[in-house]
Symmetry: C2
Subunit: 184 residues, 2 copies
DNA sequence: GAGATATTGAACTATTTAGTTCTTTATCAG
DNA sequence: CTGATAAAGAACTAAATAGTTCAATATCTC
């Protein structure tokens, strides 16, 4: 055996993610990634093929951690879960504003195909989970159609986090949206 | 008098805009801007202070051209205008996907303050125009609250244009959303 | 403790970046 | 035609970029 490395893949992802989250792919330099992770280039390149590879790994890590929060899989299924998803999905802790996944959509033009696939797949999953919760409420409109509306509204909320605006106003907006949904 | 320049500010903005629109600020190089506009660096720097200045000018130019389309000021005011706004606001011609303004929101962290102000001001305007149209329908919920919902949904539609998905599905989604609004 | 081994850190490379400067060239007024 | 003027083109600069290489170093097994 040789010298053990003094960082774990997990740790690196956890620290690199907020940087990509805030600055996106193009505007994040390797220097910033070194500083944020405390791992220098040769360490990073030992673990990841290149900057793109690290980015996609961060994206995957983010989506997994979001899935673990499980807003849409709590029993009983219903509007309450949808509301929690909208209220707590887009984060707001310091640098990490909105949703990393939604933010990334803006950069598909320069991101590897894999990034697109990861995001698209996750959205399909969300769509199914939303529909499942909505179906439990037996609305008149097709659950999958309502789920689409929720996902678009969610995406809008996420990018709007880039604007300065109070948390209370966002909460009120979500409650109004939920009121509209419940009448469907 | 000296030699007359063979490009107009307008022309440059018109040609530079789609580049920024698609690639954002960070990932657009001066080389690309030279190629797209047909004006070389000294020409560009003669007309604009720097890359940031050119970007903000493009943003302003975009918002003005969108205002001119006047979806929300056509008489009679009402849901019909809101629907037209949602259906035709986010563009889809070739490179120009979604809304340049919404796309830019993702990059506020690295954009000059001016960009933020221009976008925020335009959103405030949209908010007022939407509320005006909604008020004409005399809904039970406060018009400005509904206008907020529309603007968030609109923002969501815009970034979702970065995903491949048919125009028909988007149209259907908007119609479902409008159905929900009309019941408010 | 010795030797094998894998990580680490730093120096290095080649390219690209935004931005500047200076020479060449085109067009106008007289 | 001439001289003034201003734009255009290209060469240049300094800094930053992603990615590579290699010697120094730390830790494990035996």
């Amino acid at each position: 055996m040789g010298r053990p490395k003094n960082f774990s893949r997990e740790e690196v992802l956890e620290k690199a993610m907020p940087v990509f989250w805030k600055h996106g792919f193009a505007d994040t330099s390797l220097q910033e990634l070194e500083r944020a992770t405390g791992v220098n280039k040769s360490g990073l390149y030992g673990e990841f093929r290149d900057k793109e590879d690290l980015f996609v790994a961060c994206l995957r890590h983010y989506l997994e951690s979001q899935e673990k929060r499980g807003f849409l899989t709590r029993e009983p299924f219903g509007w309450k879960n949808v509301e929690t998803f909208l209220k707590n999905g887009p984060l707001n802790k310091g640098e990490q504003q909105g949703c990393f996944s939604v933010n990334s959509m803006r950069e598909f033009a320069i991101l590897p195909n894999e990034a697109y696939e990861v995001v698209a797949e996750n959205r399909a999953l969300l769509q199914r989970l939303l529909a499942m919760n909505i179906e439990a409420e037996e609305p008149k409109m097709a659950p999958s159609a309502i789920a689409e509306l929720v996902l678009s509204f969610f995406s809008g909320l996420c990018i709007e986090r880039n604007l300065k605006s109070g948390k209370t106003s966002s909460t009120r907006k979500i409650e109004n949206f939920m009121a509209a949904l419940r009448s469907l």
